[in-house]
């Protein structure tokens, strides 16, 4: 009867069999006790079930890449821990193939190239952008350096004003001239204000943030970037001993800033491992920020790329504090000097290119600041992507080796009417002796249908003929060819999106 009893408890018996068991239970005390024991075991098992974890997206992406990548998935033997090499080899092969295809297409298809050039010369024609469109005023960026008594002597405060949208904001910090650029600010810090010892190989600083809501409340935030235990929150590093005249910039996607509340002390004592001094599970209760858990359709699992986005619209002010670490004995750096109050707001509006035609539910356009660009000054270039389709999109980062960067490798920039591609897109070139390490997952943040995604890239990152764009004076035309490929897609999305689109160019001028 024990076998039947367990099956009865599990609901695996037919109605007749279940009826027979119930009849026995009605008259047999020992059987009822036995059932109670089994029920307790079942409940213990259910309660002890591990919390549902999901296949990490990066593992899934690697799997999908292997499946789509090469015949190796069919036949090659598995070598433990060889996955990264394997992927790198596949990517390298794909990159070479892509290059050859593009190269030969260009060489063998002069007609197509001429057509493309003619299109580029025609300039933007589609959909003139009205300045009053809400999406053109999507961002106001303000950089302020100020002194606040002795407490902040070691700190630089960067204040951002962000118009809250119901999307995790992806933003590259690019302060504009006139005034002090973030880059200059950084140079001040490193070369003049912080005496980094010759043997140091990193910038000794930490990041923290506070958020001021439209309602006047102050929220504490933790800069939780990158979301990985393998990389430091912000790692600015260089070869030891090479830091003689360092210039650097740093980028920070706001989506990495999570709002946490300080844990009550009792939680510290009871469960020090549960988030340290921060209680992660209270984030959800926070009224200002709600997690965005995307779900492609009813059948698919919730995407684990969960981000917290503001629920109110309005202007949030975010104060990001770059704080130097306490001086160690062998280090010494003086405090920051005189306060410098510089407010440099700019609105990206007006000077925007036309939208590209829609390709696989995506439209692209370029935008630049309305003010004229000056030689030697970094200016922001914006690539805006609107998801006009009905499906969530994600973008791949294929630059895996060495220095992960947020720049999608699939960008194929065309910098003038002759269609010449950029020499280099990425972080600062290695010959400067300076590199920064960023985690490349933020472009994986799901791009939801109907949402405008803006990626701001500093002109200093775009090179042509060995020079960054802001070092090349005169009139210029900037176009962009965006090539995209799927990284992963929901089960029901059989459209298998992959494509190429020419983004209409915009004209600009860099003054001497």
């Amino acid at each position: 009867m024990g076998v039947e009893l367990q099956a009865y408890l599990d609901g695996e018996l037919s109605p007749e069999e279940a009826g027979a068991v119930e009849a026995r239970l009605a008259t047999d005390d020992s059987l009822r006790r036995k059932l109670q024991v089994l029920k307790a075991v079942k409940e213990a098992l259910e309660e002890a079930a591990p919390e549902d974890s999901v296949l990490p997206a990066e593992v899934e992406a690697r799997l999908v890449q292997q499946i789509t990548g090469a015949a190796a998935f069919d036949e090659a033997p598995v070598r433990p821990r060889s996955i990264s090499l394997w992927i790198k080899a596949s990517l390298a092969a794909a990159a070479v193939l892509l290059f050859l295809v593009i190269f030969f297409n260009r060489e063998k298809n002069p007609q197509g190239e001429r057509e493309h050039e003619a299109k580029m010369q025609q300039g933007p024609q589609e959909e003139p952008i009205r300045k009053d469109e809400a999406e053109n005023a999507f961002l106001r960026l303000c950089v302020i350096k100020e002194k606040k008594a002795a407490v902040l002597l070691h700190d630089v405060i960067i204040t951002l004003e962000v118009e809250a949208r119901k999307e995790p904001i992806l933003l590259y910090l690019v302060p504009n001239k006139p005034g002090v650029s973030l880059e200059d600010l950084a140079e001040e810090m490193v070369t003049k204000d912080i005496l980094v010892p010759p043997k140091a190989g990193f910038l000794p600083c930490t990041l923290s943030a506070r958020i001021f809501t439209p309602g006047g409340e102050t929220l504490e935030a933790r800069v939780d970037y990158p979301p990985s235990k393998t990389l430091a929150p912000l790692s600015l590093s260089w070869p030891k001993g090479s830091l003689k005249a360092p210039r650097f910039s740093w980028t920070l996607p706001l989506s990495c800033i999570h709002v946490f509340r300080k844990a009550p002390r009792t939680y510290w004592d009871v469960a020090p491992k549960m988030g340290g001094g921060w209680i992660a599970d209270q984030v959800k209760a926070y009224e200002h920020f709600q997690p965005i858990v995307t779900r492609a359709n009813e059948k698919s699992r919730p995407d684990h790329w969960e981000r917290f986005a503001p629920v109110e619209t309005g202007t949030y002010r975010m104060e990001i504090v770059l704080r130097t670490l306490p001086a160690r004995k062998e280090y010494a750096w003086p405090v920051f000097e005189e306060p410098l109050q510089v407010g440099i707001p700019f609105e990206v509006s007006g000077h925007v290119g036309a939208w590209s035609k829609e390709v696989k539910g995506l439209r692209f356009r370029l935008a630049m600041p309305e003010s004229r660009c000056r030689k030697g000054e970094v200016f922001p270039i914006l690539l805006q992507i609107r998801n006009t389709g009905s499906l969530m999109k994600r973008y791949n980062i294929t630059r895996l080796a060495g220095n992960p960067s947020m720049v999608p490798y699939q960008f194929d920039f065309i910098l003038d009417e002759k269609g010449r591609p950029a020499d280099f897109i990425g972080s600062r070139p290695a010959e400067k002796g300076f590199s920064f390490t960023l985690h490349g997952t933020d472009l994986f943040v799901p791009h939801l249908p109907g949402v405008l995604r803006t990626i701001v890239v500093p002109s200093r990152w775009w090179f042509r003929d060995g020079k960054p764009l802001d070092e090349i004076s005169g009139p210029a035309r900037l176009g962009c060819r965006f090539q995209f490929q799927p990284t992963s897609w929901p089960a029901e999305d059989r459209t298998y999106w992959m494509g190429k689109v020419d983004v209409p160019p915009i004209d600009y001028r860099v003054e001497e």
Binding site: A44, P50, V54, P56, P80
Partner: protein, 190 residues
């Protein structure tokens, strides 16, 4: 997806079929791999889907896709486990691992005290499970953690449904004994 539709997909493009399985079964296989292989779950998942991909031409649709995948997964993961000569079977997810914690969406809803209690219970049940024979531990895991029916477990393990029924009863009884004895030990210890 029905078996017929899946068979069509396999015939048209085996890679598409495997990718579909990754999206549909990835989480379940990942959980199984975490329990069987702990830190080396990724290698296990990779090997499972490689095996599934290789075996797709042999899928006839006699069993459901789900149980067919489970069968391959269990065989592959247990092989991996033996190869690695790991002593611990069905390891619990490491809660101190921030990556796993971050992915545990439901974890956000519990208070720390609830989590502690659950952790304690989980450790107790896990300890008892590990003392069971593998055949008993497997049926209990598939039933309780993966919510498979007896029929699905039978298909996944390639045994008759009656065998699953008797193994379940025996496994529950053994687990009850183990749990009772650990509770008694705790009480005696106090």
């Amino acid at each position: 997806m029905q078996n017929d539709a899946f068979l069509d997909l396999v015939r048209k493009n085996r890679r598409d079929a495997t990718e579909w399985l990754v999206s549909e079964m990835g989480d379940r296989i990942w959980r199984l791999a975490c329990r069987c292989l702990g830190q080396e779950a990724e290698d296990g998942v990779q090997e499972v889907f490689r095996e599934i991909h290789r075996s797709l031409p042999r899928f006839r649709g006699d069993a459901s896709v789900l149980t067919w995948c489970y069968r391959i997964a269990m065989n592959t993961l247990l092989d991996q486990q033996k190869k690695q000569k790991r002593n611990a079977h069905f390891r619990p997810l490491d809660e101190s691992d921030p990556d796993i914690k971050a992915e545990t969406v439901s974890g956000f809803q519990d208070t720390p005290f609830t989590r502690l209690r659950k952790k304690e219970l989980r450790a107790r049940v896990q300890g008892a499970l590990e003392q069971l024979e593998e055949i008993h531990r497997t049926v209990l895991t598939l039933r309780s953690f993966e919510n498979l029916s007896y029929r699905e477990i039978a298909e996944a393990l390639g045994v008759p449904p009656g065998t699953v029924k008797s193994r379940m009863a025996a496994a529950s009884a053994r687990l009850a004994e183990k749990l009772q004895s650990t509770m008694k030990e705790d009480e005696d210890g106090r």
